[in-house]
């Protein structure tokens, strides 16, 4: 049984369809990455998932049950932007959690405050964006939740603290927590996530286990002597899902092992050819900007 099941979720704001018929299964104990360009509908999906926004249509279930307030005893949410009370300090926020959640662990909260070097007496108003994110992370993890919904959880954090958050995510997942995560740091998602879905314009355009998504595609990369490469034949090749040229380098995203395409590039004059596994960034870019693109467009994505 899936911990979280989202079936045919749609959410519109007036005429704007923010989430369009999204169906996602998030297995128990998994780290689920929700990726997508800005405005793809990730935050709206999270809000509908947690009942913070009313779905226009669709059903959301947690272990087969509809979301009820009591379920929040074991669910933590870290929103994309700071929602902390500016007039309260760190200690007061933690006290609020302690008084609200039975699962609150004071010792763990103290450890996490130390980990992020947060001063509990400091007012949120005086905190930087990174400190606010860190405090939200501390509040979320201090209740030892079974389900964590993290929307850009490393936003504003320095690399050291980003790594600390990632470790917390991996550690919680190892202890059985289900984690739903969105981030623009694809490398982080790649390190933590075992399942993912890619949203674009409110629709799921790719979903599945990360290993499966990686295994059925390869990158065939060739370096040519000049930037003038005859691509016409390649554009018509059905094995090629995506074609990127960056100067003298040609990268082909191909289905399965791309058999024969390495030889094709060699015959086209490539000085060197190699076949590499896809990383998550390749999968993401391939999903949101499929087909032939220039390197500049790909980098901007």
């Amino acid at each position: 049984m899936s911990t979280i099941s989202i079936e045919r979720l749609s959410k519109s704001y007036g005429k704007f369809l923010a989430v369009d018929d999204v169906t996602i299964e998030i297995p128990t104990g998994s780290v689920f990455g929700l990726l997508g360009p800005n405005g793809a509908g990730k935050t709206t999906t999270f809000k509908c998932l947690l009942g913070l926004a009313r779905a226009t249509s669709g059903v959301i279930r947690f272990d087969g049950h509809e979301l009820t307030p009591s379920l929040f005893e074991s669910i933590s949410y870290v929103p994309e932007r700071s929602v902390l009370y500016e007039w309260m300090n760190g200690a007061e926020h933690l006290e609020m959690q302690r008084r609200t959640f039975k699962r609150y662990d004071s010792k763990r909260a103290k450890q996490l405050m130390d980990l992020f070097k947060l001063d509990p007496r400091k007012s949120v108003r005086a905190m930087s964006k990174g400190m606010r994110t860190a405090l939200a992370i501390v509040m979320a993890f201090a209740i030892n939740p079974e389900t964590l919904v993290l929307d850009e959880p490393t936003s504003g954090l320095d690399p050291v603290n980003q790594r600390a958050v990632l470790n917390l995510i991996i550690e919680s997942a190892a202890q059985g927590a289900t984690i739903v995560l969105s981030s623009h740091q694809i490398g982080q998602v790649e390190r933590a996530a075992d399942h993912l879905a890619v949203l674009q314009n409110g629709r799921v355009i790719l979903a599945g286990a990360v290993d499966d998504l990686k295994s059925d595609r390869k990158i065939v990369e060739g370096i040519f002597p000049s930037e003038t490469i005859a691509l016409d034949g390649l554009r018509r090749d059905s094995r090629i899902e995506r074609l990127d040229q960056s100067g003298r380098i040609l990268r082909l995203t191909v289905k399965a092992d791309g058999g024969g395409l390495a030889e094709t590039l060699s015959s086209m004059g490539a000085q060197s050819v190699r076949i590499v596994d896809l990383n998550l960034e390749d999968i993401f870019l391939n999903a949101v900007a499929p087909g032939s693109q220039t390197a500049d467009v790909v980098e901007a994505g």
Binding site: P69, F72, Y85, M96
Partner: protein
Amino acid sequence: MYYYAEVLRGTRASRVIAIILGIFLALAIMFRLWAFAEHSRIHVSGAHAMSPNIPVAVLFAIAEVIGLVTATLLGGVLAKENDGHLEIAWTKPVSRDRLAAATMGVDIVTILLSQFATVLLVLVICAMFVWPSFYSDAATLPSIAITLLGPIAWYACLTAFSASLKRGLGMVVGLGWLAALVVPAVAEGTARSSSDFGRAIHWVFQPIAYIDPIEYVHLSFHGSGGMSAMQNAPLGPLGVSAGILIVLIIVYLALSVLQWRRVEA
């Protein structure tokens, strides 16, 4: 205690009220010391003969002003949550209705405490100068009820008119006070108008005045005879006005919760 944030908010409002009351107390002490030094004849030992008769409800009428200040500070609490904190408020393991009710309950207790603190302060100041003879009559109980209910009704009114807003609470509070004072005055002023325009204005403003809590909190005192009927009370007797305030509180609080249910983060 899922309403801890509101307890903190109430504590902060109480600090503001404590400062205001503290200033009054400091002024009273300074005046008393000055009076003691300059006019020793005002000494308490000689004051008993001059002790005035004051209806006990006057204490609460003074406290009502502070209650209205507290209500204004705390009013629109749900709009404050709407302004960027719903992700915290609505991911607590408690229903929205219960959270809203508890939050508003904390505020109402804070308003009442501020009023009782003011009554205490007035008694302290009385003890410093001249201890009056407090008396009560048939009007006392409904009058005290009005003074206690009025600020709560005003708080509920501000909360109801802002519960679905994410921003603009300050405007609601500012315009709310303006409307609360102007509307009954216009309704009253045009009540006996002979012109069609005046009657039309009255026809528009009078219903609004009926749902304005401030309309019901005016009290007047006649000489030393104590408290009499209310000024500007559109429905007459004190008990009826107290009843209307109770109805307004219930309706406004219910409207607040109903609106808040439908807000989205």
